[in-house]
């Protein structure tokens, strides 16, 4: 089920009302049933895959806790094998097979194995990682094995974060699922506000940005530099609002029921370096990789070359986690390179004043750091968004082409616009922008309006707790704000195009 669907609009109040009406001892069953239904709306039979891995992890967890010595390792290995094996089969089999087949053809071997006709279960990468963190934490002794199968199943299947995270740790969630949560006005109201804000980001900002990014990235060879740059910037905003919007809805809907999920985003485009970007972007995944891969490989407590290798490999695996395609691997590799070089030059930056200790300290320096980080992140998004490597190379190779024609046409338009009053200038500006996109003027106007509202709130949130700040206003002002937010979701969405945009991260 999609959060941005009318089904969810019915599903959520029913489940929440029943949740608070039921005695505590039955609530796990309600949430588990609701979560199964939520998942089964996509492809029902795939719920069986989840129950297989949950069963393996259930027994592995109890076994690990009871066992001693090497047996514990074997049980953990079995759990990892079951989870990763499932992921490898569904997500990577065809990718690996295609590459082996291409290699075999290149060297003249007869390779008989064809691709399998399988569909990737929605959110498989997310719940696989969440399951894995359970057995690993039990193995490490940070979490007691869960004796109640229903609660363990609920930990993996809990519907707000089932298909696109945040990837939770058992220490944070399992005890919360066991605890009794009463109805608290402020908590529930705050949860609903998070949901509304997440919905705004997804339905209004992300989906509107998709109107700019999708046509270009669906057939990039038809476009030149200016349009490619605009589409890439639009995609950068789209993916942030899409994914953080989902996370906000997940956070809010869990909070309504008294369960506090971890925050997955912290305004990442305000990051001043790549390492800071990853402390703010998809936090649950980056901490997962940090704790279970990077540190396991030796982290930064090793020689510089080994540290660089560890960091690069972690990002490479992170790229592969996102999708079985070379574009994602290159995206991960790019971030690996950024992070390694960022680490190497961190000392130099300190010394020559590129960070806070320098004489150039100030807003300009911060602005430049934020801008440069944003731009290199956007460059990497090209590989993330492109549907194939040739498309990605085309975009990269043409980012700087066609600017002459565009600037010349814009110049002519602006010449007509200047000195002829506001509307003529307005026409000139819009006509210049319409050289870059196929959307109508109305769509462009509404998108810009919504985007600037979003930007103001985003900046306010970066500077402090906007939700807390709102509380100082009079009730009718707050109510007007929420009403405008909900109306904007209703009015400025993009369902008028006839295309319902799924969340981007559902494919992973």
């Amino acid at each position: 089920m999609l959060f941005n669907s009318f089904n969810f609009l019915i599903f959520f109040p029913i489940v929440t009302t029943l949740y608070f009406m039921l005695p505590h001892r039955f609530r796990w069953a309600l949430l588990l049933g609701a979560s199964c239904y939520f998942y089964m709306v996509f492809i029902p039979k795939y719920i069986l895959i989840l129950f297989v891995t949950i069963s393996v992890d259930y027994f592995a967890g109890i076994g690990i806790e009871a066992a001693q010595g090497r047996r514990r390792r074997w049980l953990l290995g079995a759990s990892i094998l079951a989870n990763v094996g499932m992921l490898a089969f569904f997500k990577y089999f065809n990718f690996a097979n295609e590459n082996i087949s291409a290699l075999a053809a290149f060297i003249g071997w007869n390779y008989p194995i064809g691709n399998l006709e399988i569909i990737l279960p929605i959110g498989l990468s997310f719940h696989t990682f969440q399951s894995l963190s359970y057995t690993i934490e039990v193995y490490r002794g940070n979490q007691a094995a869960e004796r109640h199968f229903g609660y363990l199943a609920l930990y993996v299947l809990f519907y707000p974060q089932l298909v696109a995270g945040p990837i939770e740790r058992p220490q944070n969630i399992l005890h919360q699922l066991h605890e009794e949560h009463h109805f608290e006005y402020q908590r529930v109201a705050d949860g609903l506000k998070w949901m509304a804000w997440g919905m705004f980001k997804k339905v209004v900002i992300a989906d509107r940005m998709a109107l700019f990014a999708n046509p270009v990235y669906d057939s990039p060879t038809e476009f030149q530099g200016p349009a490619l740059v605009v589409a890439t910037l639009a995609f950068a905003v789209q993916i942030y609002c899409d994914f953080s919007g989902y996370s906000d809805i997940a956070f809010g809907s869990a909070q309504v029921m008294g369960i506090r999920l971890m925050k997955n985003f912290n305004h990442p485009y305000f990051a001043k370096s790549i390492s800071e970007f990853w402390q703010r972007w998809h936090i649950s995944l980056s901490t997962w990789f940090r704790d279970y891969v990077y540190i396991r490989l030796g982290g930064n407590r090793s020689s510089p070359p080994r540290w660089a290798f560890n960091l690069f490999l972690t990002f490479l695996i992170s790229g592969l986690w996102h999708g079985a395609n070379w574009t994602f691997i290159i995206w991960g590799a790019l971030h690996g390179i950024y992070a390694v070089f960022g680490g190497i030059f961190a000392n130099a930056r300190d010394r020559y004043g590129v960070t806070g200790k320098s004489p150039l300290h100030g807003n300009l320096q911060r602005g430049l750091s934020v801008l440069s980080t944003f731009l290199i992140v956007c460059f990497a998004w090209v590989f993330f968004r492109a549907t194939s490597l040739p498309d990605a190379w085309y975009v990269v190779g043409h980012l700087f082409s066609g600017w002459g024609d565009f600037l010349a046409q814009s110049y002519l338009l602006m010449q007509d616009g200047f000195g002829n009053g506001f509307w003529a200038l307005n026409d000139a500006v819009f006509n210049s922008m319409l050289l870059l996109t196929s959307v109508s003027r109305g769509e462009l106007t509404l998108t810009m309006l919504a985007f600037f509202c979003f930007l103001i709130i985003e900046v306010k949130q970066e500077r402090g707790n906007f939700m807390e700040e709102l509380r100082v206003y009079k009730p009718y002002v707050r109510m007007a704000y929420y009403a405008i937010l909900v109306t904007a979701i209703l009015v400025l969405g993009t369902s008028y195009t006839g295309v319902q945009q799924a969340f981007i991260y559902f494919q992973f």
Partner: protein, 317 residues
């Protein structure tokens, strides 16, 4: 309990604000005067006012462009209504037509192959249905599963109204549907589209050589058979006529696939097929801007062929 009531009260207050704001926008935003679907009002009026027995032609734009109703009327001595409009509406106007079927009516259905690609294409796509309903609000009950579709259709309608108003008031434009010359003010009194007439055969458009998938949709055949039985119960007769289709596109789609489609239609419904299976495709030079919009000459040929086939089917000399 007090807290719960407080939350419910606050939510209701916010929703009231939302309802007032959206309602104001909804009511004050006017429909697009030149919208293609304005012609649907004319067609509905014709269905109400034209006395029976009469011939009603139903389909997408292949019917709107490709039939000369006046010629049919003169040849068959019966009033003819061209109820073809747009493929995106699917069978929603056919459900609407049910209200107007009377004894003696002859209904000729000529859906586009595209309508048989999936459920949305067959029952109508919500963005098109929203515009269609805007011209006659009662039509919400003529869509498939109205209660289920109602929230999304009204949301889409509201969004389309807002887009249109922004385009109209700020820039003097209408919401661009990409249909160009195909507008609601170019229909004649029988419901035929006439905006493309008078241009001879000088095609000014490059027609795409694309495949039009022909799927096997049991649900669609069941729907058509149900409509047929309904019409029979009212004393009306239903025929099926193949859509106008350009030879090049037929070749790409595959003649075998097209023949299979009609073979399934014959097996799964009792609706007689008017078209000879040898005449499923027409030469490329008879098309105007798409592989199913006939030009003036093509329209003439198709209409004459349809008249002959109908006379034969009805036993008229």
């Amino acid at each position: 309990m007090n807290n719960l009531l407080k939350l419910v009260q606050r939510c209701l207050q916010v929703l009231l604000f939302v309802a007032v704001m959206s309602g104001c926008m909804f009511i004050t935003a006017r429909p697009d005067e030149k919208h293609l679907y304005r012609a649907s009002v004319l067609k509905s009026n014709l269905l109400v006012q034209t006395p029976s027995p009469r011939i009603i032609l139903f389909g997408g734009s292949n019917i709107a462009f490709g039939i000369d109703s006046g010629l049919m009327e003169r040849s068959l001595a019966m009033p003819v209504i061209n109820d073809g409009l747009h493929v995106g509406l699917g069978v929603a106007p056919l459900i609407e037509l049910k209200k107007y079927v009377r004894s003696g009516d002859i209904i000729i259905i000529s859906l586009e192959y595209y309508n048989f690609t999936d459920e949305a294409a067959f029952y109508g796509q919500p963005q098109y249905l929203a515009d269609w309903i805007e011209f006659s609000p009662n039509r919400i009950w003529d869509v498939h599963q109205p209660l289920r579709q109602m929230p999304s259709i009204y949301t889409i309608m509201l969004q389309r109204k807002i887009n249109r108003q922004v385009n109209y008031y700020l820039y003097g434009l209408s919401l661009d549907e990409g249909r160009g010359f195909y507008t609601g003010d170019k229909f004649n009194e029988r419901g035929d589209f006439i905006g493309h007439l008078g241009e001879g055969n000088n095609n000014q458009f490059e027609i795409p050589n694309s495949v039009y998938p022909v799927n096997n949709m049991d649900e669609a055949y069941a729907f058509l058979e149900e409509f047929n039985q309904f019409a029979l119960s009212k004393g009306a007769t239903v025929f099926y006529e193949a859509q106008a289709h350009r030879q090049t596109n037929c070749d790409i789609t595959g003649m075998k696939n097209l023949r299979n489609f009609f073979s399934r239609l014959r097996n799964k419904t009792t609706i007689p097929l008017l078209t000879d299976l040898g005449d499923l495709c027409l030469p490329d030079n008879l098309f105007y801007d798409t592989p199913y919009h006939l030009n003036e000459q093509g329209r003439q040929i198709r209409t004459e062929r349809l008249i002959d086939n109908l006379k034969f089917a009805l036993g008229i000399q």
